[in-house]
């Protein structure tokens, strides 16, 4: 260890102010403090500090995502082998999936690191670990065979436009990972939307996602339901689809369904949520509020479903929670501290509105079946406004006390 420390200390001299490599100081500093904790001293009071720092905070979010990666890889393999009827084992499925997940992961991190380190060098600040979380989140929102060049451009867009131009972590308005995904959603729609991209299945196989079934029920499905005198609602449509994928409620939870890499297994997402809340990193208020918002809106839509032919209105609150990436978005994206609201009251409002908007976008506008991404981005935009009014309330209270 001392040997390593010595190398770092020696090489550090090359990166000092005025030396040829001084432009790359942030890179050296990051390597140095990743290997050995900084020995920066407390200057004035407080003379003692908690051991928690941003490195660990960000790293913990990445830890919470690892199970989603592992399952995501397995799921890619499983869906592939089960639809092609090749014999497989859990391990071979997993390895098959990894051959898709790893390139995506590596591409994202390369793109993210180039942007973050580049900006750190230009702006002469230390590299902020926040980009690790963004880069860990982006692959999980991708379909398995996203072209890597698109991913590279999308990641750069997300990190630069979503974060760096606002001044980096701490001052950004939009969640960088979601900015990246939204950019790709609109820039390269053929590869990141529709029915075909969410599972690696043979041509001709019906690879619909749970969300697209009630959104665009096929004529065959409606005829099938009419034949058996069943109502055209989401649950019945899901069960019809069992020929291709199992969209039963339990399997929606366990996640052996098409979808973006990280979103399908709800148990692992919930475990991640519990972990982050327990550690005090993510806001439970936002998560609880958004689930409440979703349940209440979906419940309301269920009541209105009789007056509409839109099968999306019949999706029950539970199905709404389980299908698509609502849970993933709520747990890992909505609760991102910088771009969400900064007051506890605000967090309730912000979370609730994400739930409401998710259902509205999903149900009323079937062209965008995945509403949670847009819902969070919209609420990112409104978060400062919500905080403004919450803080205004506090100011009013203080003025009235003064009077």
């Amino acid at each position: 260890m001392n040997f390593l420390k010595k190398i770092l200390a020696q090489s550090g001299k090359l990166f000092e102010e005025g030396k040829p490599l001084s432009f790359a100081y942030p890179l050296w500093e990051a390597t140095d403090t990743i290997l050995f904790s900084t020995n920066t001293q407390n200057k004035s009071g407080p003379h003692i500090r908690d051991n928690m720092d941003i490195k660990r905070t960000m790293f913990f979010v990445v830890i919470a995502l690892i199970p989603c990666y592992l399952f995501g890889a397995y799921n890619i393999g499983y869906l592939h082998s089960s639809t092609t009827a090749v014999s497989s084992s859990i391990l071979s499925d997993f390895i098959f999936g990894m051959t898709y997940v790893l390139p995506i992961l590596i591409t994202t991190f390369i793109a993210g690191a180039i942007c973050e380190i580049g900006f750190a060098m230009i702006r002469k600040h230390e590299i902020n670990e926040g980009f690790l979380v963004s880069c860990a989140l982006i692959p999980l929102t991708m379909p398995p065979d996203i072209p890597l060049w698109q991913l590279f451009i999308g990641t750069c867009f997300g990190i630069i436009i979503g974060k760096e131009i606002f001044g980096g972590v701490g001052t950004n308005v939009f969640n960088p990972a979601l900015t990246a995904r939204a950019f790709m959603y609109f820039a390269f729609p053929t590869k990141i939307s529709g029915d075909k991209v969410w599972a690696l299945v043979p041509d001709g196989y019906s690879g619909a996602t749970a969300l697209s079934i009630p959104a665009n029920p096929t004529i065959d499905m409606i005829a099938e339901l009419a034949k058996n005198e069943q109502a055209i609602n989401a649950t019945n449509l899901f069960s019809l689809n069992s020929m291709s994928f199992d969209f039963s409620t339990s399997n929606l939870f366990w996640g052996l369904i098409p979808g973006s890499i990280g979103e399908t297994n709800k148990l692992l997402i919930l475990l991640g949520a519990i972990f982050l809340i327990y550690c005090g990193i993510a806001s439970w208020r936002i998560m609880v509020a958004s689930v409440l918002g979703l349940i209440s809106t979906a419940g309301l839509f269920n009541l209105l479903a009789d007056y509409s032919t839109n099968a999306m209105l019949t999706i029950t609150p539970l199905e709404h929670i389980l299908i698509g990436s609502f849970l993933f978005g709520t747990v890992f994206m909505a609760s991102e501290p910088v771009t969400s609201t900064h007051t506890n009251k605000g967090r309730w409002i912000y979370g609730f509105m994400i739930g409401v908007l998710t259902v509205i976008i999903r149900s009323i506008n079937p062209a965008y079946p995945e509403g949670v991404m847009l819902a969070i981005l919209i609420m990112n935009m409104f978060a400062p406004l919500i905080d403004y009014y919450v803080v205004k309330g506090n100011i009013k209270m203080r003025i009235s006390r003064n009077a």
Binding site: M1, K5, T33, I34, L35, F36, S37, T38, N39, T40, Q41, N42, K43, S44, G45, P46, H47, I48, R49, D50, N51, M52, D53, I54, K55, R56, T57, F59, F60, E126, N128, E129, G130, G167, G168, V169, G170, T171, Y278, C279, G280, I281, A282, S283, R285, P337, V338, H342, T343, N344, D387, V390, V391, N394, I395, M397, R398, I399, R401, N402
Partner: protein
């Protein structure tokens, strides 16, 4: 009796808590009065080096309010006056002459103080006014102000701070005498904050408003208590006296003498035998630290570990301080410390380490991480028990938005109230420093 139950906050489990024992020690030979302990004053000296002074003689006054003078905190000689940058006065060091000091013990008659003006004039005449401080700004009070109330906190919750129940156990008469006269200075209430079950005799005194404080630090801070019972609005002024100064004021009011002795503690992870000492205002820290430190490389702090001032072993106790805290100066760099699983070598308010926080922790001067842009995870809110949006307030300070600072309650805050926010902040933000910057901005506006 008012009762406050504070939920937000954290009692830091730091090693080296002083045992309730009064330890023997050598007598101080030098003490120091530092004008730097007093905010927003412009000191003008009334003495020179080598002048002989007696306890309570005026030493310097504030050019901005000349009626306020500072007392000699020892009888003897002014041995040294240390100047800082631009000839600011850093320290006025007294060498104590014990023979002169013991002569001071002649008991005078109890001064007859009937009105508010009497008490204020008496304190000003005796050069004892600097014992009265005020909120907002945490500075020496202005005698011409009318405080809406006066508050004394006898409930110390800061880490390693002195236990008033122990140090003031034999000062009942002096405390009551001090309280009687403090009450005369305000038309409003005189609040006295205590921990539950302590200072029984205070509950029989009808002119004070007793406040029972329960909860983790910073529950015992004056700012937190006021926020709960009598918030400071703009233009409000509340006066306050340090708990350990009550006996000094009591002796002054009942006998007319200035006796600067206080009981202090020496505590912290780097102290071999933490305990209490009979001491005095401005005492030399070396007297207590010498031979009682477990380590060579230490930071000696006058005051507590959250808000105290780094003084060095050759430094002196601050005027308002009553404890000396010593922590190890560590420059350790652990391998991949951010990945550390936990155990007894880590301490965190977050549940981010396995099996940490169980035993008293040896805190060092390590910042435990690099400074980063602030990421507002719900951390500060959990240790800041005021109805103030601290996050928004800090932003208004950084934006230099004078009006918003006022509206968001800057007057109610002081550095000590937000010290825990800095302690737990994963971005290592100096919250107290920013609050002080805001208070300075508002003060000089």
């Amino acid at each position: 009796m008012l009762k406050i139950k504070v939920k937000k906050g954290h009692d830091i489990n730091i090693a080296g808590v002083a045992s309730r024992d009064l330890l023997a020690t050598q007598k101080n030979t030098t003490v120091s009065l530092s004008p730097e302990n007093f905010r927003y004053i412009k000191p003008k000296l009334l003495v020179k080096e080598n002048d002989s002074v007696k306890l309570g003689d005026p030493i310097f006054f504030d050019k901005l309010s000349p009626e306020v003078k500072w007392p000699a905190i020892a009888s003897g000689k002014i041995s040294k006056i240390i100047y800082g940058e631009r000839r600011s006065i850093k320290e006025i060091v007294f060498s104590i002459d014990n023979s002169v000091e013991s002569n001071n013990d002649i008991k005078n008659q109890e001064p007859f103080l009937s009105s508010r003006d009497d008490v204020i004039n008496f304190l000003l005449e005796k050069n004892m006014w600097p014992f009265i401080t005020q909120r907002p700004f945490n500075k020496v009070a202005n005698p011409s102000d009318t405080p809406k109330s006066i508050i004394v906190s006898l409930a110390n919750t800061a880490p390693l701070s002195i236990d008033y129940d122990f140090t003031l156990s034999s000062n009942k008469d002096e405390i009551i005498s001090a309280l009687i006269n403090l009450k005369k200075m305000t038309q409003g209430k005189l609040f006295v904050a205590i921990n539950p079950g302590e200072f029984d005799y205070l509950s029989n005194i009808d002119f004070i408003e007793l406040v029972e404080v329960q909860g983790p630090h910073p529950a015992g801070n004056i700012g937190i208590i006021l926020n709960h019972i009598d918030p400071i609005n703009s233009n409000d002024i509340v006066w306050t006296v340090q708990g350990h100064h009550l006996p000094i004021l009591g002796r002054l009011f009942s006998h007319g003498i200035f006796d600067p002795s206080i009981t202090i503690n020496l505590a912290g992870p780097a102290v071999t035998n933490p305990g209490y000492f009979q001491s005095r205002i401005g005492a030399s820290l070396e007297t207590y630290c010498k031979g009682n430190l477990s380590n060579e490389k230490v930071r000696v702090i006058s005051g507590d570990v959250l808000t105290g001032k780094q003084s060095g072993i050759d430094g002196y106790l601050g005027f308002y301080h009553s404890s000396i805290s010593v922590i190890e100066e560590s420059f350790d760099r652990s391998f991949m410390g951010w990945l550390h699983p936990g155990g007894s070598s880590k301490y965190s308010v977050f549940n981010a380490y396995i099996g940490s926080n169980k035993s008293p922790y040896n805190f060092t001067t390590l910042q435990n991480g690099s400074h980063r842009a602030f990421v507002p995870i719900e951390a500060w809110e959990n240790v800041f028990p005021m109805d103030i949006y601290i996050n928004a307030l800090l932003r208004s300070i950084e934006a230099n938005d004078f009006d918003e600072m006022e509206q968001l309650g800057i007057y109610e805050c002081d550095e000590e109230d937000v010290a825990l926010c800095s302690f737990i902040c994963p971005s290592k933000t100096d919250v107290g420093g920013i609050i002080r910057k805001g208070l300075d901005t508002v003060y000089f506006d």
